[in-house]
């Protein structure tokens, strides 16, 4: 460890320091049936020892491809078609396979994205850490390897490392697995660590702890960090340098704080406007200064992408918020699952809340908090163990099947996965018309007219009716799902993580669409999410769930301004970007 520090210091003292990583005019292409497709083009970046750099972009922007190109782990037919990657002066595009293998792990560590699938389930965690140590030649001999493995896991922040070595990945939580992967990535003290969305699959509070730990670790070891993320707020908080990628090119790069405070490229401006974590900060700022910044984006399409503008639009229409009756009343709702061998598991524990008509209630919680189970019980996809749900004055319990069927038309869902929630073999027209057919709503012609009207409402061309979902992007599919949900003119829409799988700009667009539709149609939303930052933009009231219970219920402003529970405060603190001084 001290070694690395001294070399850094001596190199710095010698004046002209050689960068640890220098990428020059990198171009990466993928061979497809239609010839070579360029995924990354003209990427230049320079990184010095001990620095940290974040590459930010949406899916398909080429951020992961750039990172994978560094250690030559390009998937499938991808290859570097131009440019140089200099690691400490050595061109990695020209080294042999063997040499590359010795560079991976020893000089460049890698932390993959998905902790759930990147550990082999049939081998113990200890075996996998020891394998990495042996492969990198860090230690030799059974005892030495084992000791190093324990040291690595301890370093990665796993308590009780000796015992943990014998355990298997399924006995670890997602956060613990990611710690193991970070441990493996750092096991050979590499000079450079590439972390590809290391915490995207984790809960925010776990994300925070892991990233704090990674930060301390890389600082202590003097490791240079390349960090890939889709979250601009997270990137700016965790890295000194920022590279924003868009369609395979770098559109803006420089010091994080400066880019965030003073974005120049219109794309970066859009990203800043649409990032929920930053929007949350900006709302805070504008509330205290009592001034709104809506001219941030500057381009025509920008307004619908600006989350602060969305919030303001919502507030403008929310004039008659007071004294409304409740569309949904949930009382003491409990769901107990019987688990073979280990007794009962209470997924939802005496949950009570009310949603006033025409408002949005956000149900926030981390994975396993029971928030989706509440939604499923509301939608009658799961039977409650006990408790009462009242919708529009009608109790769900003991409802005749005819009344229950009628109630389904009043309340419609939009689910999380835009790729899974539309039947791939039905065309868009039939998908949107299906609820109307099932509920015998109108005749053929009026249904067709309604489908066109709905497509219009969700801003999609009516020519899509004969098309199939696989031709559409995730955001467009989610629009179809919304149109389908609105087909029967329901009063209530249950949005179960409806924007969580989308890229930030698309997410911002859909959030705006939802806000506009609510104002237009007086809809009541139950908005289920793990992302508190989004809640601030879309919700009137918030209920925070933890381990099956609601720990805090209040208006959105109260929850953000004055949280009463420690858990809520932890969640709020875990929103990335909280420590960034914003110049807005």
């Amino acid at each position: 460890m001290t070694d690395t520090n001294t070399t850094t210091a001596s190199a710095a003292e010698s004046g002209a320091e050689r960068p640890i990583l220098e990428i020059k005019d990198l171009q990466v292409g993928f061979q497809t049936q239609n010839g070579m497709v360029t995924a990354v083009d003209g990427v230049n970046l320079t990184l010095y020892r001990g620095q940290s750099l974040a590459i930010v972009g949406e899916s398909g922007s080429g951020k992961s491809t750039t990172a994978h190109a560094i250690i030559n782990l390009l998937p499938g037919t991808g290859r570097i078609t131009r440019g140089q990657i200099l690691l400490d002066g050595k061109d990695l595009t020209k080294v042999s396979k063997r040499e590359m293998e010795s560079i991976r792990g020893r000089q460049v560590g890698f932390v993959p994205q998905d902790p759930m699938s990147n550990l082999n389930p049939v081998w113990s965690v200890g075996f996998q850490v020891e394998e990495a140590i042996r492969a990198n030649g860090v230690a030799k001999g059974k005892q030495a390897v084992r000791e190093r493995a324990i040291q690595v896991l301890k370093q990665a922040g796993l308590q009780d490392a000796e015992r943990r070595l014998k355990q298997y990945p399924h006995q670890f939580s997602g956060g613990m697995r990611q710690r193991v992967l970070i441990g493996i990535g750092l096991s050979a003290d590499p000079q450079l660590l590439i972390a590809d969305e290391p915490t995207s699959a984790l809960d925010v509070t776990v994300q925070r702890v892991i990233l704090d730990h990674l930060e301390t670790l890389t600082r202590d070891l003097g490791t240079t960090l390349v960090f890939i993320t889709h979250d601009l707020g997270l990137a700016a908080e965790r890295a000194e340098q920022l590279v924003v990628m868009y369609k395979g090119r770098i559109v803006e790069s420089g010091p994080s704080v400066e880019i965030l405070q003073n974005p120049q490229h219109p794309y970066t401006k859009r990203l800043v406007a649409a990032a929920p974590s930053l929007a949350s900060r900006r709302i805070e700022a504008s509330a205290s200064l009592d001034q709104a910044e809506t001219d941030l984006t500057g381009d025509v399409a920008g307004d619908s992408l600006d989350l602060v503008a969305t919030l303001e639009a919502r507030h403008d229409t929310d004039s008659v918020a007071a004294a409304k009756e409740s569309a949904i009343i949930v009382e003491d709702l409990t769901k107990v699952y019987k688990i073979r061998g280990s007794g009962d598991f209470t997924a939802v524990d005496k949950v009570s809340f009310q949603i006033p008509r025409g408002t949005t209630m956000a149900l926030v919680g981390e994975s396993g908090s029971g928030k989706s189970t509440v939604a499923k019980m509301l939608l009658k996809l799961e039977e409650p163990t006990s408790g009462e749900i009242t919708i529009d004055g009608k109790r769900l319990n003991g409802l005749s099947s005819k009344d229950a069927f009628a109630l389904r038309s009043r309340m419609q869902p939009v689910f999380q996965d835009p790729y899974g929630s539309l039947n791939p073999l039905m065309n868009i027209g039939n998908l949107i018309a299906e609820p109307m057919k099932v509920h015998k709503f109108g005749d053929r012609d009026s249904r067709r007219a309604r489908v066109h009207e709905l497509l219009d409402q969700v801003s999609l061309p009516t020519s899509l009716v004969t098309r199939y979902p696989n031709e559409l992007s995730g955001g467009q599919r989610q629009r179809i799902a919304i149109a389908r949900a609105l087909a029967l003119k329901p009063d209530i829409v249950v949005l179960d993580e409806a924007v969580s799988a989308l890229d930030v700009l698309v997410q911002a667009q859909i959030l705006r669409l939802l806000a506009d539709l609510q104002a237009e149609l007086d809809l009541t939303y139950l908005f289920i999410t793990h992302d508190l930052a989004v809640v601030r933009v879309i919700a009137d009231n918030v209920a925070v769930m933890q381990k099956g219970r609601i720990v805090e219920t209040a208006t959105t402003d109260e929850v953000f301004g004055n949280p009463t529970q420690q858990y809520t405060r932890d969640l709020l603190a875990a929103i990335p970007g909280a420590n960034i001084p914003l110049g807005l």
């Binding site: 710095a12 002209a16 320091e17 010091p255 859009r270 996809l381 389904r408 073999l425 299906e434 899509l464």
Partner: protein
């Protein structure tokens, strides 16, 4: 201290002309309509294997339907012993068997037998396999336990063996339908297993949950959403199963427990020819080629269908 040498910290902005902004999430639906079936068709069209097997199958079907167009010999025409083991001659391109029957004519008329057994068995497999597999997979619980155990019982008996027994018992009713029934009755469990597994996967998808939330009834969900999305592997298995049925019929006839000699069948021909293998091997080889070619066509078709219909296989290509 080294900050002065680290000059890269400059704020770089790409020229906007080089990185133009595109509208967020704009719709790019142009060109042909695309779903699983149209994509599979587009994929199949490009494969020579698909065309070779399809042309062969169409040809065999044509021969089976209109044998008169290919041979002037009527099926019931007697065999004349004076032609015994005769070589090829005008109107009889493949020569004669030991009994003096025209080899080519027998092959042409045998096509109908093989194909009808194959098709009847396939219909049986589809009806039984889809009913059992779909109900077991979709409803689960005791329905699954009962139906799957019934399937397992049939699965545990090799269908050739079972058919031998059935055909021996029903020896006085040997015809195309009975032999197809004997094969089909024991061949469906593999289809039902494939479908059940696929339905178990599909029934947990979000679009099924979404349909439930809309209020679609369970049975309609099965028919409209689950079955169409799980039928692709069944089509593949069934195409290959059709080939299996043709082989099974030939095997049974060869063993002497299949069709009687009065019905022209490639299995019977091969069986008769083996007794005379040394003197006239071609009488064995010609019907064998016909059988292999037919079976191969269906297996090839099944294989290309598998490649075209399996999205996972496509993704890795």
């Amino acid at each position: 201290m080294s900050s002065n040498t680290r000059s890269n910290a400059a704020h770089y902005v790409a020229p906007i002309e080089e990185t133009p902004l595109v509208a967020v999430d704009s719709v790019k639906a142009s060109g042909r309509v695309s779903n699983l079936w149209t994509d599979a068709w587009a994929d199949l069209r490009k494969r020579p294997m698909f065309w070779i097997s399809s042309v062969l199958i169409v040809l065999i079907t044509f021969v089976a339907l209109f044998p008169g167009l290919f041979t002037s010999e009527p099926p019931s025409s007697g065999c004349y012993l004076e032609n015994s083991n005769g070589g090829p001659e005008a109107g009889h391109p493949l020569g004669f068997t030991k009994q003096g029957c025209d080899v080519f004519s027998r092959i042409v008329h045998g096509a109908a037998t093989s194909l009808s057994v194959g098709i009847i068995v396939t219909i049986l497999i589809l009806v039984l396999g889809i009913t059992f597999g779909a109900l077991a997979g979709f409803y689960g619980g005791w329905v699954d336990s009962v139906l799957s155990r019934v399937g397992d019982i049939f699965f545990s008996i090799p269908y050739i063996l079972a058919a031998v027994v059935v055909m021996s018992v029903l020896s006085q009713y040997r015809n195309v339908f009975v032999i197809a029934l004997a094969i089909g009755l024991f061949a469906w469990p593999s289809t039902s297993r494939v479908l059940r597994a696929e339905i178990l996967r599909v029934k947990n998808s979000d679009y099924v949950m979404s349909a439930t939330a809309i209020g679609v009834s369970r049975f309609k969900i099965l028919l409209r959403h689950v079955l169409p999305n799980s039928i692709a592997p069944v089509i593949v298995v069934t195409t290959i199963g059709l080939a299996g049925a043709i082989v099974a019929e030939a095997t049974l006839s060869f063993l002497g427990v299949g069709l009687p000699n009065t019905i022209m069948s490639w299995g019977n021909d091969i069986s008769a020819a083996q007794r005379d293998l040394r003197n006239n091997p071609m009488t064995l080889i010609y019907p064998s080629i016909a059988l292999s070619l037919t079976v191969l066509s269906f297996i090839m078709l099944g294989e290309v269908l598998r490649d075209a219909l399996d999205p996972k296989a496509r993704a890795t290509r």
